[in-house]
Amino acid sequence: MYRQKYLFLLPGLLVLVAIILFPLLFTIRVSFSSWDVYNPGLNWVGGENYGRLWEDARYWEALLRLTGLTVGTVLLQYTLGFALALLVWREVVARRLFRVLFLIPMMTTPVVMSVLWRTIFHESLGPLNPILEGIGIGAVPWLSQSTWSFIAVMIVEIWQWTPFMFLLLLAGLLSLPNEPFLAAKIDGAGPIRTFLSVTFPMLGAISVGAILIRLIEASKIMETVYVLTSGGPGTSTETSSYYIYIRGMRDFQIGYSAALSLTYLIIMIVTLTIVAKLLVRALVRDQA
């Protein structure tokens, strides 16, 4: 209809294609080479990197660990975020203050917060263990023991990103119409019944969106791990991105890390597509 429509679309599209397309194509090509510190360059080794990756237990363990970490933290964030949104949704003293407070962590720089958290988790000088001892739980080997460092990473992630769930769900709650709640009240439904058959179903679509966005973002986790535990102790908190980072940017095995990251990308896209379909089916019931 109008020629001018290209004037709107193309500048953005072309800039993005130019910035993204080269890296992507280049990565595909590099993944078939043995580019490393000793032989930098684009030779052709066929699927050698992919064969090596298949037998690389450390890679698959990292992926498994990432899955556990991502699913665990996102579900906790969703539950906590939903609870918090419900808490400050209606009549609460100083609710605007609490809303601001609950939002603040998502505005902070994750990597900077991780540096602070590292001092908090410090086993002899940090403030956390004295508090735990004070309430009778006892000191915890936060960053020197596998399970606890995994939990430490989860705590940091939950602190940082529960506000995101809170934001979307509260926005959802605030946009709900009043009539269904009145109807539920007239029918004599209690608060739990109202939540299960009115509030929760009406937030189905927003829930799916929020969980998906968080799954995508959480699966990229790397900075928190880098600063807090460096993947350790051993490889007990090493996630996919961090392992690829070690192979690529530290060992400088460019070819191999390209194969790792492409495989990872494909796995992510396939998994997230399936998860998205399942979530939509489970949470968005036939409510228009």
């Binding site: 590099v30 939002l103 505005m107 540096v115 946009s175």
Partner: protein, 280 residues
């Protein structure tokens, strides 16, 4: 029953508030310590438990034993603001086109192009880091502000497109059609009619761009070395086994402060119902 419910409710709210505030309070009190205050174990109350000092804060402006945050702060500001401005401009234009006109490149239609924009967020940064590194080296932009801005535009534009496509879809098409009937061409229509109505969407998009731009660490970390340091990289460089906790805490607070203001902006929108449309 009612009292029990209220007690539980406020206990929950206060507990979470304490959890949220905890790291900030710790950083604040630590920023006034010296080596003596830190190595004696965790303390909270100045004057009573430790002798406060402003060494940590002085180090931010070139004092000994920390980093000078002025230059990294300025760098972060320049990169974030420039990249956000470019992303929002290009992203808003593209989003308007995708919302109002129909396109067809080969097999790709509007929804495919929109998905192409948004799908960039799925890409793990690590996949892009090495090619970006080599690309910027070829262009001679490694360790420079323009190089980082280029990368951040790719990072932020998808967010702008995402928010704005949704937002434009919510503005009735009748508005455009009326302007066209009055003889406005698309460019004039966009500038005079649509843009003034899109301010709330632009605020949301801008906010997200600022958050993701200011808070990124990974690309700044892999694509710069010594010439061009962004704030998060400078702070992490302090993180070692002999970290000066006081300098670290002061720097961390300085780097976090600008965006905390955004929480207030978001809350205003939230309470006025302005976000409801934008997050759907």
């Amino acid at each position: 029953m009612r009292t029990l419910y209220l007690t539980l409710k406020y206990t929950a709210i206060l507990l979470w508030s304490a959890f949220v505030i905890f790291p900030f309070l710790w950083a604040l009190t630590t920023s006034f310590k010296t080596a003596n205050g830190v190595t004696g174990g965790a303390t909270w109350i100045p004057w009573v438990q430790y002798e406060p000092s402003i060494v940590g804060w002085q180090s931010l402006f070139g004092g000994a034993g920390g980093i000078n945050v002025m230059q990294p702060f300025a760098n972060s500001l320049i990169v974030t603001l420039t990249a956000s401005a470019i992303s929002i401009t290009l992203g808003t234009l593209a989003a308007y086109a995708l919302s109002r006109f129909s396109f067809k490149f080969l097999w790709m239609r509007n929804s495919d192009i929109t998905f192409f924009f948004i799908s960039q967020r799925i890409m793990p940064p690590i996949v892009l880091a090495i090619p970006f590194f080599l690309m910027l080296r070829t262009l001679g932009l490694l360790d420079s502000l323009p190089g980082l801005i280029l990368v951040y535009v790719a990072l932020l534009m998808p967010i702008a497109v995402w928010v704005m496509v949704d937002f434009f879809n919510g503005i009735p098409r009748g508005l455009d059609e009326m302007a066209w009937m009055d003889g406005c061409d698309p460019v004039t229509t966009f500038r005079r009619v649509i843009l003034p109505n899109a301010v709330p969407g632009l605020v949301v998009a801008g906010m997200f761009c600022l958050i993701f731009g200011w808070n990124d660490f990974f690309f700044a970390f892999t694509l710069t070395f010594t010439q061009t340091q962004l704030l998060p990289v400078a702070i992490v460089s302090l993180n070692s086994s002999v970290t000066p906790w006081w300098a670290l805490s002061a720097a961390a607070l300085v780097s976090i402060a600008p965006l905390v203001v955004l929480a207030f902006v978001v809350e205003r929108f939230l309470s006025k119902g302005g976000l409801a449309g934008a997050v759907r």
